[in-house]
């Protein structure tokens, strides 16, 4: 009798454990697929080489921190610029602007380096607690292109455990524990540090070894956050940032003010790149309503069109830091702004440093992207020539 009872108990426990395992698989498989979903990147006419970040930070090799670097070598020598997208992988404007550069840009003078997935681990992470969608579709002329929607921070699967407090290297400033996985707090990094410090160290090494002149880190920020719709620049870059800001306002009709990079807040690209290399850093922010907290559901539609009734109501009460109306803040405007501001920074740098010009053509500007959509500038990977598609 006792033996039968024990057998029954064992069966019940096994059934319960099996049911839980089923739940884990049911919930985990979509996350597993998202993490392993690769995005096709078509090498455009200007791409001459594809490097890896591990070429500059060897301990990234074989990790989720490693990521491709697209090099667009110009016909004539000149200055060198680096563009980084997806430093925060939940701000896809940067990644899309980087892809538009890779697929369309032709460099006449100088060299362009583009890293579309700077925090590659973050782009394979998500934030289920905030109801983030795993993917989003960008409409194109040939259908639509599916992208992973990532998270601000790297995945704990790739860098774990988090400390109680992140002690920034080398300044020893105390930062939030989560910032140890935030590639915009781990600059300038170190070769043997946590994975995200190795990522930023790789970019620093690239900038130091290849003598990069201009580094553009492309982001998106909440409409309720004061540092939005702007160019963040330290002292060494501020003149060019102001000229770029004034020019896009006068010539293209959109606002993009300049914010000074605070010297006392460490770990950010717009501060550390300038302090630890010869490069002039610029951090671009475009408003992304999706990241604001008091909004409706976090749908892919909202991510793309930036329309939300709650933000509209807050805008009427003057609680937002950017103009906001029924048209929202669509992806086209955000990516278009980034492209125009980046091109304008290159132009202003070339005017100021005539010995090292960076001349890029083929990249659409704000009005083009607003009119045609971002997808218009993305090619069909199925029709791309053999050997021109890089999966990441």
């Amino acid at each position: 009798m006792k033996e039968r009872g024990m057998k029954r108990e064992g069966l019940v426990k096994a059934a319960m454990a099996g049911a839980f395992l089923g739940l884990v698989l049911w919930g985990g498989l979509p996350l597993f697929r998202h993490r392993h979903h690769d995005i096709p990147i078509i090498k455009g006419p200007g791409v001459t080489t594809v490097l890896r970040l591990s070429d500059f930070s060897p301990r990234l090799k074989g990790t989720a921190g490693d990521t491709p670097i697209f090099v667009l070598q110009g016909k004539e020598p000149g200055g060198k610029a680096l563009i980084m997208g997806n430093t925060h992988a939940n701000e896809p404007e940067g990644m899309l602007a980087a892809l538009v550069f890779i697929e369309n840009a032709v460099v006449d003078k100088g060299t362009l380096y583009v890293i579309p997935f700077f925090n590659n681990s973050g782009s394979r992470n998500t934030r289920p607690g905030d109801g983030y969608p795993l993917y989003f579709d960008v409409p194109t002329d040939w259908g639509s292109q599916l992208f992973r929607y990532g998270n601000r921070d790297a995945s704990p699967l790739d860098q774990w455990p988090d400390p109680d407090v992140y002690i920034h290297y080398p300044d020893r400033q105390l930062l939030s524990f989560i910032d140890v996985r935030n590639t915009n707090r781990t600059w300038p990094g170190r070769p043997e540090g946590p994975l995200m410090e190795r990522v930023t160290f790789g970019a620093m090494e690239l900038m130091r070894r290849d003598k990069i002149d201009v580094a553009v880190d492309i982001h998106g920020a909440e409409t309720m956050f004061p540092v939005t719709n702007c160019i963040v620049a330290p002292e060494k870059s501020v003149k060019i940032a102001i000229l770029a800001s004034l020019t896009v306002k006068a010539m293209e009709g959109f606002e993009n003010h300049v914010e000074p990079s605070p010297a006392g807040f460490r770990g950010l690209s717009h501060r550390e790149i300038g302090d630890y290399s010869e490069a002039m850093p610029f951090l671009l922010e475009a408003p992304i309503p999706f990241l604001d907290q008091p909004t409706g559901p976090k749908t892919t539609k909202f991510l793309l069109d930036g329309k939300d009734p709650f933000l509209l109501s807050l805008s009427k009460k003057k609680k937002l830091f950017v103009p906001y109306d029924e048209t929202g803040w669509p992806l086209e405007k955000r990516v278009g702004q980034h492209l125009s501001v980046t091109l304008e920074i290159f132009r202003q740098f070339s005017k100021k440093t005539m010995a090292r010009p960076i001349v890029v053509r083929g990249v659409p500007r704000y009005a083009d992207v607003v009119k045609n959509g971002v997808g218009h500038y993305l090619g069909d990977p199925a029709k791309a020539a053999a050997g021109t598609v890089v999966m990441n």
Binding site: E9, K13, M16, A17, F20, V24, G28, F32, R35, A64, L157, D158, W160, P161
Partner: protein, 49 residues
Amino acid sequence: MIMIAYYVITAFILCLVGWNFVREKKKPDDLVLYLLVMIPLLLRLLRVK
């Protein structure tokens, strides 16, 4: 080093909770809770990526 220590701690807690799951005879609610607690520990140890 810290990472290895955390994995050892994770394995230790998983063993404790697993042993409680095996030993529990009376309360089905507790069985469910043990299983719930074991999920993240197990996933971390298996390093499912």
